[in-house]
Structures are given as C-alpha cells and as structure tokens.
C-alpha cells in the first residue's frame, strides 16, 4: 500500500514539474492540468488513500505558481475529488468513451470553478476557450488510464 502511495506521490511531483515547463503561447492554450488528472486517477484506483495534506500542499504550490488567490487550486481540486469520491466502482464499469466524457466534464468543471472563484477579482472574460484543456485531457485519458489505472487494478 505504502509503495503505491510513494509511486503516486512521485507521479504527482512529475506532473507538477511537467506543468511548470515553459511552453509557447500557442501550445499553452491547449495545455492541461496533469496534476488534476493524476489526482483523479489516484482517487479512482485506490480510494481513500489520497493524503489530503498533499492535496493542500500541491494546491497551494499551484496557486503561488500561477499567481491565483491562495486556496483557489485547493478548492477546485477538492471539489473534483468530492465529486468522484464514492463513484470508483461505477466509474470502472464505464466504457472508455463514457470515461472520456466524464473526464471532459470533470476538467471542464475544474476550469469553470477556477474561473468563477476569481470572477469578482480579476473580471476575466468568460470565453469558450475553457473547453480546450478539457478536450485534450479527455483524449489523453485512455492512455493514462491504460498505463496507470490498469496496472494498479491488477495489483489489487
């Protein structure tokens, strides 16, 4: 059990590193939150093992990294985790297409939550460009889940 936690924690760190890599503004529009995807996978594959302190720590780091309000990423991450907690078995029953749709919706909610939480402060324009990261995430999902989720399910 603890070895999985170590593996997942290092995956999370790797994801965070991946997000910190500078990209050109063209690519940036389509860049996705790897940390979010890994946390979703963690929560789905070994439920109730996700250290909440780690979520808080990572969320705060992402807030400082992206200069958003302290707590914005913590809130949006925990919102997604609340949404999928208790849904692990149902999620596993889904076909891969259904899973991709679910991931699309989850990432979209995450983006929307982040936008809404800074609504009054930044008065950013609401634009439909929110769907791009969600789309890319859902396209990446099958590969990630095959590599990571399937592996851990076999160990169980």
């Amino acid at each position: 059990m603890s070895s999985r936690i170590i593996i997942f924690s290092s995956l999370l760190l790797l994801a965070f590193l991946l997000q910190a890599i500078p990209v050109s503004s063209m690519v940036a529009e389509f860049s996705i939150s790897w940390v979010l995807l890994i946390t979703i996978i963690w929560q789905l594959s070994i439920p109730r093992s996700l250290p909440i302190l780690l979520v808080i720590f990572l969320g705060l780091l992402m807030d400082v990294q992206t200069s958003s309000l302290l707590g914005a990423h913590v809130a949006s991450l925990s919102l997604i985790l609340v949404l999928i907690s208790g849904q692990q078995k149902r999620f596993r029953m889904f076909s891969i297409i259904q899973q991709m749709v679910m991931v699309f919706i989850l990432v979209f909610i995450h983006q929307l939550a982040l936008l809404l939480m800074t609504w009054g402060i930044s008065d950013k324009h609401f634009s439909l460009s929110l769907w791009q990261p969600a789309l890319i995430s859902s396209l990446v999902w099958p590969w990630l889940s095959v590599i990571i989720l399937a592996k851990f399910q076999r160990i169980r």
Partner: protein, 278 residues
Amino acid sequence: MQGFRLSIIFLLSMLLMWADENTQLLKTPRYYFAYVLQPVNQMALLPSVIGNWFELSAQSHDTLMQQNSELKTRNLVLDQRIQRLISLETENIELRELLGASERIDDSVLSTEIITVDEDPISQQIMINRGGSDKVFVGQPVLDAKGLMGQVVEVQPNRSRVLLIADSNHEIPVQVNRNGVRAIAVGTGQIDQLKLIYVPDTADIKQGDLLVSSGLGMRYPAGYPVAEVTEVKHFAGQAYARVSAKPSAALGQSRQFLLVFNQDAAHVPDKSLWQEKP
C-alpha cells in the same frame, strides 16, 4: 468520510481566498512559499536551456560571422543616433529650463528575459527572470526594443509576473504622437489588438497614428511608443468613435525586455504652468 473532510477543506480554502483577497496577511507567506518552487522551476527550465544551447552551438561559423558583422553595422548606426540624441537631450533640458519645467531624467534600466507565458488562455501575462532580489517592484514598467510591454503585477524572490498591455484587465493612458490627443488604450485579451476608449467622435485621430504613453496614470514613463492605430470607425449619433490599435512592442515574440527604474514615472510639469491662478 473522505468526502466530508474534502468538503471541509473546500470551505477552508474559500476562507483562505477571502483572506488573501481582503487582507495583507498572506502576502509574506506567499513570497516565501515561492522559494519552495524555485528548484521545480529551475528543473522545468532545463529543456529550454538545453535546447537554446544546442541551437547556439549548432550555428555554423559563417552564420556567426555574418551575424557579427550585421550587429557591428547596427551598433555603428545606433551609436551615430545616440550622438544626435545627446545633443537633443541637452537642447531639451535647456528649453525646459527656459520654460521653468522640471528636468526630465533619463531612466535607468535592468535587462530581463522571459521564462514562461501564462498557461491560462484568457489572460495575457508572462513571467520574467528578475524578482525581489533585483529590487523589482509591483507596478514597474516593462519595455522591449520597440515599445511598452506592460507592468509587473507580482514579485517573487527570483522571478516576477508581468501583465501585458493586451490583457483585458490592463488600461494605459496614451496620446497621439502627432497632435497630443489623449485617450485610454485598453487591452482586448488578444495579443495583437488594443482598443481606445473615450475618443470623441470629432477627435483628430487617423489610421497609422503612433500612440505614445502620456504618463498621466503616474505609472508609466511618458513618451514611450505603445501602439499604432489600425482602424478608426465613426458611428452616426454616437458620442465616441471606435478605434483599434496594434501594440508597437512584439508582445508575442520578444524574449528580452527592460525593466525601467524611475521613481517619478510620470513627468508632471510644474503646477504653476497648468493650474489656473486664483
């Protein structure tokens, strides 16, 4: 059970956000928290550093020679312009003395380089590689070789965040270089477009006009190029014209910038010159 704990965290983080927005308490922790991020960011920069190194070392001798001679010629031209500038500056100071206006001091600058572009598709912000340890301050103007880029909005120990003039949250007071008509240039969120607001329908402003910073906002130094007018539209019955402009600075391409250190960014002439006597 976990869902419950997560909900508590959700509420607590809401509280945290409120505190961050409405109090100054979290500013210092945030600054020091950025130290934790430093190794991560340095590692993340590795690919681009390696890429740049390869690009540099893969250039042929001929290309470098050619580049070198081009730079030398350019340098010569610039040197010649500076000579003229010096005499113009002294002349300007003398004229200002005659007018009784305060003397305009040349700004001191610090060069800096871009690190990342904001991944958020709706904001126009970049990170640069200078921070609190280089005495960068919030509100500091940033220029590139061709014009104003934007201003510093957040300072971390070794990097800072710059809000570009094209961001939809950004506004800068400008004036037409040709005749001094004043307006406010607002970002549209698109990197290559600004719009001017509160331009009277009858104002003398044409396509191709250069807009320079007026320095009236007390934030940007006066006289730097900001944008070039690309389109002026008049509407019958409307009080204001719709004016679009294209930023002079290469917002999407520049990699090298200058941070301007100038305490009284706006040059405001002596009060007796513009205030009516009672």
